[in-house]
């Protein structure tokens, strides 16, 4: 059983952390080889960065170590012995704790309640005075502290992150793995938390591994680095042996991004989509987009690169009508635009959001119906502007199913039963139908296999070639390079860098993605 820090003999608390090694780990998800023979060693008292782009396999690797997934092959070694980790509780037993990207705190409970409930054994009656004193005593030995009586939801993001870390220390973890710990923190909070963790590793109290794609965090805090690229080990070693440029090369590859073969050089037309100082708040009412201004011309693909979670999702929601902007204007073809049905139709704006099942389809409606969301009330599909002509929707769907090679038992099958790639194709078919003036695509190929990726990308380029203005939001830099005419970088809710795609410098873009502007 896991025990709280207090229940352990003092020796174990003061003992140095053991070595953690994952050797030759492989993991396959269906057709996707997420992890390909990757080895990783976290030596005692080191601060280790796992670097890589989204989907490079970093999370898969640590989830295999933590027992969320079972690796197809490979082994986990703690200290001198092989260990079987079947679930995160097992990992806890070996002193390995993980801090997740999304907080696992119970928001409506106090800091003390969160800490006590994390223990394996909670007393039947809790003497809060005693517990709070014990927690205070524990925190006094820690480099940072959090107000014990505050509710978790009253804590700032940085404090929550600290509490998550404290929770692991309180449970006696010697090895702490943090998944993108700074993605929810301000730069100052990030420096604060990482700096304190580094001090603890320097004192030999702790080993720390962080998953990140920010070079700055690697160079400023980590002793060692392991770089993953497309599920495979791209390189590892001491951080001092690397430069940001060499890390960037390991992370995104050295070959120049392949220019799109399909792309025709086309005359760029008038400005189709224009954003003026668009600002928006997130669900908690905190500002998340700051004065985003951009222009996309007809026949142009503008790629927005950036680490996910920097406001891209909310930008797409604003354009989709799923979130109200707090200020700013959107113009389409020079006219003010708000995403009502009439305006969407008149301006011919289409949208391909990420997670299409969650954002753009109704799982318990049929494929044909889902493909008719845009057109069901158009004259060609109605009887007397009133009744939906299912036969026509069905025939239209049949045509698209053939054209876009959507694998479905038929147009009458529920779309919720289709695979992710096929839902994506169905939504793409719907959105690219007819003449499209503006297409907004968000991570359109996320999680898809090669064939689907190639297909969807060629469709987007074809739309561009026919004069559509495309705004491509993607966390995948390869995708941005493969498709874009022009690239802007989004960081912390603002557009911070712009360059033509031709001759764009990967390292320069990476630097801006990582928050190094100025």
């Amino acid at each position: 059983m896991t025990q709280s820090a207090f229940a352990q003999p003092k020796e174990r608390r003061d003992a140095p952390p053991p070595t953690l090694a994952a050797e030759h780990m492989s993991k396959r998800f269906g057709p996707l080889l997420a992890l390909d023979d990757v080895s990783f060693t976290l030596r005692p008292g080191t601060f280790h960065a796992l670097l890589g782009e989204n989907g490079a396999g970093k999370s898969t690797l640590v989830k295999c170590i933590m027992g969320f997934y079972q690796a197809d092959s490979g082994r986990v070694v703690v200290g001198d012995s092989d260990v079987m980790v079947n679930n995160p509780r097992d990992a806890q037993r070996y002193g390995i704790g993980m801090v997740y990207q999304h907080f696992t705190l119970v928001e409506n409970m106090t800091v003390a309640e969160n800490l006590v409930m994390a223990r394996a054994e909670v007393p039947a009656f809790i003497d809060w005075k005693k517990e709070e004193q014990a927690i205070e005593a524990f925190m006094s030995g820690m480099p940072f502290r959090v107000p014990v009586r505050k509710l978790a939801r009253q804590l700032a993001a940085g404090e929550k992150q600290k509490l998550e870390i404290l929770k692991q220390l309180y449970l006696g973890s010697k090895i702490i793995i943090l998944d993108e710990p700074t993605s929810v923190l301000t730069p100052q909070e990030a420096d604060d938390v990482l700096g304190l963790l580094r001090e603890m590793t320097r004192r030999g109290e702790l080993s720390v591994a962080i998953i990140t794609h920010k070079f700055r965090e690697v160079t400023a805090f980590a002793d060692e680095v392991t770089v993953l690229r497309r599920g495979a080990l791209a390189g590892s070693g001491k951080v001092s042996d690397h430069t940001p440029a060499s890390l960037a090369e390991l992370m995104v590859g050295s070959e120049p991004p392949s220019a799109s073969l399909l792309r025709q050089s086309s005359e760029q037309g008038h400005v189709s989509l224009e954003l003026h100082d668009v600002c928006a708040d997130d669900d908690l009412g905190l500002p998340v987009l700051s004065k985003v201004s951009l222009k996309v011309r007809a026949g142009e693909i503008l790629g927005i690169a950036g680490v996910s979670g920097n406001g891209q999702e909310q930008l797409v929601e604003v354009l989709a009508g799923q979130r109200l902007p707090s200020s700013g204007k959107v113009h389409v073809a020079g006219k003010p635009y708000s995403p009502t049905r009439t305006q969407i139709r008149e301006s011919r704006v289409r949208l391909l959001p990420e997670a299409p099942l969650k954002n753009a389809s109704v799982a318990n409606m049929t494929v044909a119906e889902n493909m008719g969301f845009r057109c069901f009330d158009e004259p060609g599909f109605t009887l007397g502007r009133w009744a939906v002509r299912r036969g026509r929707l069905r025939r239209k769907a049949l045509k698209s199913i053939g054209e876009y090679k959507i694998k479905t038992p038929g147009p009458e099958a529920l779309i919720g039963g289709l695979s992710g790639g096929n839902v994506q194709r169905a939504v793409l078919a719907r959105e690219l139908d007819g003449e499209v003036a503006v297409l907004i695509a968000a991570n359109p190929c996320f999680g898809l296999d090669f064939a689907a990726v190639a297909e969807i990308r060629s469709r987007i380029v074809a739309a561009r070639n026919s004069g559509t203005a495309v705004l491509l939001v993607s966390a995948d830099l390869d995708e941005i390079f493969a498709l874009s005419d022009r690239i802007v970088v989004m960081s912390e809710g603002a557009l911070v860098y712009e360059t033509p795609a031709e001759g764009a410098n990967v390292a320069e873009i990476g630097r801006h993605m990582a928050g190094h502007h100025a």
Binding site: A360, V362, R374, T382, W386, P409, G410, A413
Partner: protein
């Protein structure tokens, strides 16, 4: 169907094959869809049989009497149809909002408010011809019923107030306010023991359907269900409503006005329940009094859930439940069971049907039979 109806619609042999396959799949899925509800009804019947046996009655005799009281004779069938009429309308009151993912249970109040409003209007139209009176009664009852449930929809859309609780509270408030009006301003001075509104006048009563002993209210119910079926299952309005109910994010992406749809659908639902009140006044009671709140609103909730919120499904379900409630009297007389027996059966049916949701979609015997064991293409 011609291929030229939609420009470029080509139906190759592959597509034809796909179509046939899909048809088989649909037929299989349809049959599969009947297995679970069928089993649920069977389980309910067994549970209810056990219950009445414990209560000292002979289950076989009870079922026999129920059938006799509901559908066994021409008279009882007509009685069941008469009771089915308001149930169709109150069933719509829960079924329509359910299409948007809203659970509305305030049909009883909307019925009462609609009935009292209709009676009040009739008393101001003395001297007009019956059709005018009835038309005004119907419209008034629908407006008031619609206002009632529409308010619940508006509170949900604009203020995020839970519509289940608010609709029921509005229902209680409506009943209390109407009771106040019946006691006071609307009271017929002649009604001594049981305060009522003025009688709408015999010439204004809804008569029986030609050749039947069932009043015209049944036609109202059937027509309302058909209209709502066309509206919800075939119109662009209903299509939009289904998108909202299925996924509000997708609805916003499609540019649909989610709050407006919520309010409108709730108002239509309330109008249906209000019309039920008018039917009860104009065809049964002739005036509005406390007997209007006879529980049709609550049974309507069950009707909607059993019909899986399909306006067409409501027609047979309302008839069955109307029959069950019509048989209550006979059970009381012949089996010496209390009139609440039918409420027990309804309750059991409701609970078992909801519990069976967990098995819904898990049965694919017929689909597999139809397309072989390969199953659906992923």
């Amino acid at each position: 169907m011609t291929a030229s109806a939609v420009p470029g619609a080509v139906r190759g042999p592959e597509v034809e094959r796909e179509g046939a396959r899909a048809l088989m799949l649909r037929a299989g899925a349809f049959l599969d869809g009947l297995v679970v509800p069928g089993a649920a009804v069977l389980v309910s019947v067994i549970l209810f049989g056990g219950f009445v046996a414990l209560a000292g009655a002979n289950p076989v005799e009870v079922f026999e009497q129920m059938y006799r009281g509901a559908f066994g004779t021409w008279f009882s069938l007509q009685n069941s149809l008469q009771r089915a009429a308001p149930l169709m309308l109150t069933g719509l009151c829960t079924a329509l909002p359910a299409r948007l993912g809203l659970v509305v249970i305030g049909g009883e109040g909307a019925l009462y408010v609609g009935g009292v409003a209709a009676a009040a209007v009739a008393s101001h139209l003395t001297g007009s011809d019956p059709y005018t009176v009835l038309a005004f009664m119907a419209i008034t009852s629908m407006i008031f019923g619609g206002l009632w449930i529409g308010t619940a929809g508006a509170l949900r859309a604009k203020r995020g107030v839970n519509e289940t609780i608010s609709s029921l509270l509005l229902s209680y408030i409506g009943i209390a306010v109407c009771n106040h009006l019946i006691e006071g301003p609307l009271r017929d001075p002649q009604s001594l023991n049981k305060p009522s509104t003025l009688h709408i006048g015999d010439q204004n009563m809804l008569g029986p359907l030609p050749g039947l002993d069932v009043h015209y209210g049944l036609l109202y119910g059937i027509v309302a269900c058909l209209i709502c079926w066309l509206l919800m299952d075939h119109s662009i309005f209903g299509f939009a409503a289904r998108i909202v109910g299925g996924n509000p994010r997708a609805a916003r992406l499609s540019g649909l006005r989610v709050p407006r749809l919520m309010i409108l659908v709730c108002a239509i639902a309330g109008a249906a329940a209000g019309l039920a009140g008018m039917v009860e006044v104009a065809a049964v009671h002739g005036k509005a009094n406390a007997s209007l709140a006879a529980g049709y609103g609550y049974t309507g909730i069950l009707v909607a859930f059993l019909a899986r919120h399909s306006p067409l499904g409501i027609l047979p379900v309302a008839l069955v439940l109307g029959g069950i409630s019509a048989s209550g009297g006979l059970l009381q007389r012949t089996c010496d069971l209390p009139d609440a027996t039918v409420a027990v059966l309804q309750g059991i049916l409701f609970v078992v049907m909801l519990a069976s949701e967990t098995y819904r979609g898990q049965v694919n015997w017929f689909s597999r039979l139809m397309v072989g064991s390969k199953g659906a293409v992923a």
